[in-house]
């Protein structure tokens, strides 16, 4: 399935603000991270959180093609 991933801050600098990943059905948040790591080619980036449909998700949270998945690098608001 095609999953659209939004990226921000240092992760957007590295991958662009939006990436389409081709993942097997039944994939989880951890699979999204692993897939991006495979593309990272030695770059060091801060460990992110992941949001699914604008809520923080856990590594084992399932991901569907219709979900809005976002990579959330360490936040620095305020």
């Amino acid at each position: 399935m095609a999953v659209t991933v939004l990226l921000f801050a240092s992760w957007a600098d590295a991958f662009g603000p939006r990436v389409e990943l081709d993942l097997p059905a039944g994939s989880r948040v951890q699979d999204v991270l692993d897939s991006l790591a495979a593309r990272a080619a030695g770059r060091t980036l801060p460990a992110p959180m992941v949001a699914v449909n604008q809520r923080y998700a856990r590594p084992e949270t399932p991901v569907a093609a219709s979900d809005e998945v976002a990579i959330i690098p360490p936040v620095a608001g305020g």
Binding site: F8, A9, A47, Q54
Partner: protein, 150 residues
């Protein structure tokens, strides 16, 4: 209560007026501003960006939690995005409450939660011409990435 992610100059006085109530004995205002020095480097300005729809919903959740935990509906927060100059305000938090301890507690709750979970990022511009995303989880000096991909 109210919260907003905005792209205009913040007005602390207006937010203070917004929480005013004859049932409150204490009003507090917190203003976060761009400061000249961070981690020993001279800062000229900061770009703030966000995952805006989620930042709006997380900020609204933080305000609702503060209102519930501290028992006041008088909680208003605005966070600004865009390029801010030295001394400009990035966030204003206004709270009023019958009791001062609760007003101060709600204020602290809001700023701590914003910094922990609202998806907003800042990129500092330094006097040496470089720019860098601020990573509060990194204990080492700026410029030395330590966390690899998962």
């Amino acid at each position: 209560m109210r919260s907003a992610i905005v792209d205009h100059v913040l007005d602390p006085t207006a937010l203070l007026a917004e929480v005013a109530s004859a049932d409150s004995g204490a009003s507090t205002l917190f203003v976060g501003t761009v400061r000249r020095v961070n981690d020993g480097r001279e800062v000229l300005g900061i770009d703030y960006s966000a995952y805006t729809p989620m930042a709006e919903s997380e900020l609204a959740a933080v305000v609702a939690e503060a209102a519930e935990r501290f028992g006041t509906a008088h909680v208003v927060v605005e966070h600004r995005l865009g390029t801010l100059a030295l001394g400009e305000a990035s966030i204003v938090i206004a709270v009023s409450h019958a009791r001062r301890a609760s007003a101060m507690g709600a204020q602290k709750y809001v700023i701590e939660q914003v910094k922990a979970r609202v998806p907003i990022w800042k990129r500092e511009h330094y006097a040496d011409g470089t720019r860098e995303w601020v990573d509060p989880t990194r204990a080492t000096p700026a410029g030395t990435p330590v966390a690899g991909l998962p």
